[in-house]
């Protein structure tokens, strides 16, 4: 498998706080890569660096071999590198179907296409994906009135609607009812296998990430602490110490 994202020596500090120091990581095409670490270890900062939310201080980030560390958020998104948010971001005043239809891949659209209405096929696809995440019955409700967990599912469905090449998920299971988590793991795996979307996931729930990822990176205090397969990470004493506060 080839590398689709290659970050090399990425550093980012906010004033005096070093959020990321010399981080290098790779995401393999077609796989599921995990990113773990205690709170405040710089995971979301790393995500934000990749998708272009803030300029990085040092290092390089490549997507499909192209340098993206100097590009703007919408430009990177249009390359097919998409992210979901830790605090969900959905269009609260619209219903679920409208949320889905807005998430149509605009990068594949010309200006004239934008002046067309959505076709039956688009609506069918939206409803199919809503069914996929289990929100079909609520599709005409205002998205803002959904529970936090349902909003996360909606955001995930919107990301799938956008047909990304790589999807960066920031804590997809946070705030989701434990009984629903198994269903979500299953859907994430299916998104990976059926839709062929490469996943890069930040997750706190160890059971979830150990179940899904084929390669895991662990951050602590803004630095790369360990990397390896789930089994290697689970047995790594440094990772256990970091989570229990030895650092």
């Amino acid at each position: 498998m080839s590398n689709i994202i290659e970050a090399h020596g990425v550093s980012k500090s906010y004033g005096g706080v070093k959020a990321n120091t010399d981080i290098s990581l790779t995401v393999k095409k077609g796989g599921i890569t995990g990113l773990i670490g205690p709170n405040g270890s710089g995971k979301t900062t790393m995500f934000n660096s990749i998708v272009g939310y803030h300029p990085i201080d040092e290092g390089s980030i490549k997507f499909e071999g192209q340098e993206i560390s100097k590009m703007l958020v919408p430009e990177i998104a249009r390359l097919g590198l998409l992210r979901t948010f830790q605090q969900t971001r959905i269009y609260s005043q619209m219903n679920c179907v409208e949320n889905m239809l807005i998430s149509m891949p605009h990068r594949k659209m010309s200006l004239m296409d934008a002046f067309r209405r959505n076709t039956k096929a688009d609506t069918d696809k939206a409803e199919h994906l809503l069914e996929f995440v289990g929100l079909y019955e609520k599709r005409y409700l205002q998205a803002g009135s959904l529970s936090f967990g349902q909003q996360k599912l909606l955001e995930f469905a919107m990301a799938l609607m956008n047909e990304p090449t790589v999807l960066l998920l920031d804590e997809p299971t946070a705030g989701i009812n434990p009984t629903l988590i198994n269903g979500l793991i299953d859907r994430l795996k299916r998104a990976n296998t059926e839709f062929g979307i490469t996943l890069f996931i930040i997750e706190h729930n160890m059971r979830v990430i150990m179940n899904m990822a084929d390669h895991i990176y662990c951050l602590a205090h803004g630095q790369m602490l360990a990397e390896g397969t789930p089994a290697e990470i689970q047995d790594d004493q440094r990772v256990i110490d970091a989570y229990l506060g030895a650092h």
């Binding site: 269009y91 807005i102 605009h106 067309r116």
Partner: protein, 344 residues
């Protein structure tokens, strides 16, 4: 669906018949249509896209001047025309007048659209209240600059060519120009909001950062929307120029505190981000304004201020927003399961 068509045809019939049924109200109705046009155009950016511009009056004033310059410039030198020592050598035949009118209105619309395309990328870097204040500054500055351009008549303003029509017929013509713009804009908006483009500007309103993260061309969509809105406001400004015969820059063309605020109040009253909100709001506001300006003179600004306070405190979503909140099923907001659908 057929019910809706009957409603639309009935409204269109009323629109066409109104100046003949109520001839003494023709000017009143013409102004009502002006309000509907500027309110609906304002709602394109303010309501549907979430960018509250306080400077859309810039396009109205610019449209007035552009309309005048195009109409006069077709046949005479504008600088000589606006020269204070103007004499009777400038005469317009009926043909010249109407040609000037058509060219002026269309030209003003296109010119204002072009202005929006040029200034859009500068102003859309501003968000929220900064955009509102920035655009307000644009309108105020434009008024001051224009009042210092002697070529455009300076602070004295500019006079339009005289209409060959009897004033009563001229009023009806102006009415139909405004009404035509209003109807075209309404039909345009009804279509526009149903396209992917319309959905994209709604997305920008609800969460611009998310829209960017989803790869939507936010700046492109914002600028084009503002430009389309500017085309209609500019054309309405040009019609106003022909209606008023003479206008000056600060109080008439770039009338920030009058029409510039009225258009926002109309939309707030009717309901932001809805197709009918600006129309209903414009009707309510225009009636309110006529009543207070005629029977409550001296206190009209107090009454207007009171109205704004009441809307902002108690009626933030306007009439349509209130209805949507009380009767969500009218707007198709409901739980619908697959089983029910199969059963039905």
């Amino acid at each position: 669906m057929s019910k809706n068509w009957i409603l639309y045809i009935a409204l269109l019939a009323i629109t066409v018949a109104a100046p003949f049924l109520f001839p003494s109200y023709t000017a009143f109705l013409a102004t009502l249509w002006l309000f509907i046009v500027v309110a609906q155009a304002w709602d394109m950016t303010g309501g549907q896209m979430g960018y509250n511009s306080l400077g859309n009056i810039f396009f109205y004033g610019t449209g007035m001047y552009a309309g005048a310059v195009f109409a006069i410039g077709l046949y005479y030198n504008v600088g000589e025309w606006t020269d204070a020592s103007r004499s009777e050598i400038f005469s317009f035949t009926a043909g010249q007048y109407y040609t000037g009118m058509v060219v002026g209105i269309i030209g003003a619309g296109l010119f204002c659209g072009l202005c929006a395309l040029i200034i859009g990328p500068l102003f859309f870097g501003l968000r929220g209240p900064y955009f509102a204040i920035g655009t307000l500054g644009l309108a105020i500055a434009a008024g001051e600059i224009v009042s210092n351009i002697e070529w455009l008549g300076g602070g004295q303003g500019i006079s339009m060519p005289h209409s060959p029509l009897h004033p009563d017929f001229e009023k009806v013509l102006i009415y139909f120009l405004f009404a035509g713009l209003g109807v075209v804009l309404f039909i345009f908006c009804k279509w526009f909001y149903s396209t992917r483009f319309g959905a994209a500007i709604n997305a920008i309103r609800d969460d611009e950062e998310k829209a960017e993260a989803m790869g939507i061309h936010t700046l492109r969509y914002k600028t084009i929307t503002w430009a389309i809105s500017a085309v209609f406001v500019g054309a309405a400004g040009a019609v106003s120029a022909f209606q008023l015969i003479h206008f000056e820059p600060l109080e008439t063309a770039y009338q920030t505190i009058n029409l510039g605020i009225f258009m926002v109040v109309c939309v707030l009253l009717g309901g932001k981000g809805t197709l009918w909100g600006p129309v209903i709001g414009a009707i309510l506001f225009h009636v309110f304004k006529e009543v207070t300006w005629n029977y409550f003179l001296g206190g009209q600004w107090v009454a207007l201020g009171l109205l704004i306070v009441i809307i902002v405190v108690f009626f933030q979503d306007g009439l349509m927003g209130y209805l949507k909140h009380r009767r969500p099923e009218w707007f198709g907001i409901k739980v619908e399961s697959k089983d029910k659908e199969a059963a039905a």
